[in-house]
Amino acid sequence: MPSLRRFFFLNACLGLLSSVALTAAGAESIKPAIQPFLEAHCTGCHDAETKKGNLDLTALRDQLTEAENFSRWVKIHDRIESGEMPPKKKARPPVADVAAVKAVLSRALLQAEATKQVGGGRTTLHRMTRSEYENTVRDLFALPGIAVRAGLPADGSAHGFDNNSDALDISHVNLARYIDAADTVLNMAIATRPVAPATSLVRLSLARNYEPDIMLMQGDAMLFRDKKPDPVFPPAGEYAHVDQGAHEQIGIFDRMSSVGVFRHEDDSWNPYFRHFASLYPGRYRIRASFWSLTWDKGEVRPARGVEAARLSVVQFNENGRGGQHPSYVLGYFAAPSLESKVHEMNVWFNEKETIGFNPASLAPIRLYRIGNYGPKGRIMGYTGPCVVSDWVDIEGPFNDVWPPRSHQLLFGSLPISEIKPDPKAAQRPPVRVPLRQDIIGCRNRPETEKGVWSVTSAHPMADADKLLADFLPKAFRRPVTAETRAQYLAQFDLRVKAGDCFETAMRWVYRAALCSPDFLYHVEAPGKLDDYALASRLSYFLWNSQPDELLAGLITSGQIRDPKVLDQQIERMLSDPKSDRFVEDFLGQWLKLRSIGVNDPDKKLYPEFNPYLQDSMVSETRAYFRELLERNLDASFLVRSDFAMLNERLAVHYGITGVSGPEIRKVTLPAGCVRGGFLTQAALLKVTANGTTTSPVVRGSFVMARLLGRPPEPPPANVPAVEPDVQGTTTIREQLAKHRADPACASCHTKIDPAGFALESFDVIGGQRGRYRSIGEGDVPPRGSIDPRIKIDFKLGPKVDASGELPDGRKFADILQLKDILANERQLLLRNLAEQLTVYSTGHALSFGDRTALAEIVARTEAQGGGMRTLIHELIRSPLFQTR
């Protein structure tokens, strides 16, 4: 640029800077101010004719009140700031020119953003997510397992998270479901009897069940007594047992024999304990005894190691006639060799639930034979592992107080009295549906209940007012004005006058409160958050739920903003088991763990995959994040570490020896191991694959967006996706090389592909590979760690080339070298994590104007060692967190 033009350009910039500061709209005139720069360095490629990268700067308007224009100018600012534009092969603009343009753009963008946020703040009003709703009612009513999430419409997602204000719309469908959910909560919360249901203990055998007894007949399961085959029930061999009903009648399955299972759960078989179905929702204690063995054609031998038994909660459908599938997994439990191990846990049962069982560590084999289908010798011709369930005890429901806390929250200490039928009474009694056990095969029965019992009040209006004064602030997470309370009280009065009894009228009011914006929305005034909003934001961040009484007390005492107190609370909250919800919810979205089950790997290509492996993957990633938090490790650990959180199944998958049993524990990795860090965890490698093939583009984009905070541009329209070849003839790298020959594609793929190439060392289930698996051409593979009972149908195709070159020219030969490169980008990794946590915790995407505050958080964290826990403290202390 000639020096005179530069002089005028710089002067114009300075002039603009002042004018921007003066005008509210501000940005309308930025373009003339930087026009000389654009013409000198940009419009050569980005004009109407060339329009490189689909950008025509001659046509781009600088009206920044339009969201699309605003984001385009932000990108232009960022490209100039990073030095990416003008491209390196072009003449470099003088540093002062670049600084001046950046300053103009920055001021204009900030001004436009500030104008937009006037009166609103950076985050708009938004409702709770499904997950937040469920956790909130669980904590508010002390009903720790109530399930209402599934009944609510799915939340949208924006900027990677479902709690983002841009995604949380509301419709009449939501409102209808909120009413249903409120009824579900109130039905479970309100006591309808004068005394608690009695606690009972039942011992269940897997033998007497809908599914296992069928399998016992044909040889997929076996009865044992005293660690030996039960002589009353010989193993099925050449002949199977006949007529299951006859065996049931004569009591073969009622002898509390242990049941050894050889067959893994599959699409047509999900064993569960049918004799019990929870009638009274509540807390129960489960005890279960497992062991394992190697079955050798009729002989019992020591097991190959510690096998794993999975317990789940199964919800019965209708009357329980078939079709039951696990609702959620309780855990994986050790089944040691020839030695029973008893496991104990506390669970919450909702109505009509029981326990499901799966011999999780076994290969998916079937020993039953019907007609000519199945192995001839059945179990007597089989040698292999077996997981044995001795029994499962279910004890409960446990109610340490009655009426339960949920009822006391709603009705205080008002008496529960019997409502005598009286046709002349002015008020209608509450409607009660008689409780009965309608699950086929279940043996537990409801207690006999006589009469209709309900809360009664001698002074209904006064009591209702008192109850609402207590309940509403807890539900709304802030003080409630007398006017608001009066509105609810008026509704109560209306219902009573309409003939409702005290309980029914209060239900009406409570339901209204649970469907009100005060409950459903995160109420935050623009500007600095008040104490209630701060406590609420803190609690929804770390607990995915409302503040507890301790936090509420700190608001009342005015201590919540005291930095020391705030730090103590963060520590307390992170140490509380409720913080598992944060780990689950945040990782589920940041690292897409929620998508882990979106596709099932191809059974021919990946026969070793099973649900146990998948659940272990998720457990590993969660445990690893927890470890980073607990030890306050720095951001380099996001991609590289010398340890991993493994159980036996995952260790075998990773080729690591010396890990036994299903419990996840910290394992020091051998030197040169490719594992360690999120980047090479099987869970992430699975969510970035489609079940059949991997794509460097998908994985590269994931790394850029989720770990480095540099999401690539979306692909241009009308460009077909590169489909990997599973026939084993060409590699994805060869296909992408053709794709990148087009300069328009190359500009993005140069940035996206490198990390993806390095991750080609891992298959769709996160196993390390040197060659691609193929269902067409290729060599016969070695069995490796694949269970010898699993049939291998795939072949080994072309070799994997995991080398690559980053856009800045740095080269790597494999994933280990890439990890080293990325681990040295600690600040980049930390900044991204800070951004992800900010978006998640504040419910809004990071704006242009937030960058300075974010940089301060990162700098302050770095100054203290860069630990993850420190980052959370710094984020919560920051104006970004404490301002709406």
């Binding site: 007949m217 009353v232 029930f233 010989p234 099925a236 061999g237 050449e238 002949y239 199977a240 047992h241 006949v242 007529d243 299951q244 009903g245 006859a246 065996h247 049931e248 009648q249 004569i250 009591g251 073969i252 019907i370 007609g371």
Partner: protein
């Protein structure tokens, strides 16, 4: 204290007097064949069950003929016993059959004494392929025992079935066909 004891004695005498006035229900002895005795151990099963049935006494049972003799106290056996209108023998048998069935998950039942003399029955031997399992033996027994014309049946440890039939009412072909309907035997 003395007054209290006197009252107690008086009350006891009064109650005893009332009870003495009631006519004791005469016990009834009946004989019926028992369905479900497919192997000797089942006799023990039957003996275990009977004490759980109020008012029922098993006088004797003959495994070979499957005939059992029962002594019943109608007042305890019948739910709505009316001394003025005692139940008939058939009503008692029906009630006993019901009680036995409920207590044994329907593995025991009663049926009338033999329709024809033993010497007029035909012995049929069947040999289904089953495991050495009590449940399987019961399954194959169950498959044929309730057929019309089957007077009695037993199943050996090896699965061999010995059935005495009334040749006028059934035959081996019918028994073979019935066995094939036992769930699981159709596809060994």
């Amino acid at each position: 204290m003395r007054t209290f004891i006197s009252s107690l004695v008086f009350a006891s005498l009064f109650v005893a007097g009332l009870t003495a006035d009631l006519p004791a229900a005469p016990s009834v002895e009946i004989s019926r064949r028992v369905v479900g005795l497919f192997e000797p151990s089942r006799v023990e099963d039957l003996k275990e069950i009977v004490p759980t049935l109020p008012g029922v006494e098993l006088v004797r049972v003959d495994y070979a003929s499957t005939v059992a003799v029962w002594r019943l106290d109608p007042a305890l056996v019948m739910t709505n016993y009316n001394a003025k209108k005692p139940p008939s023998e058939e009503q008692l048998v029906q009630r006993l059959d019901s009680l036995l069935g409920a207590a044994s998950t329907r593995t025991f039942a009663l049926k009338p004494l033999a329709g024809i003399p033993s010497e007029k029955t035909t012995l049929i031997q069947l040999r289904p392929h089953i495991l050495d399992c009590r449940g399987c033996r019961y399954a194959v027994y169950n498959g044929i025992a309730k057929l019309e014309g089957v007077e009695s049946a037993t199943v050996g440890k090896d699965g061999a079935i010995s059935a005495r039939i009334d040749p006028a009412k059934t035959d081996q072909k019918t028994l073979d066909a019935a066995l094939k309907k036992v769930r699981g035997l159709e596809h060994p």
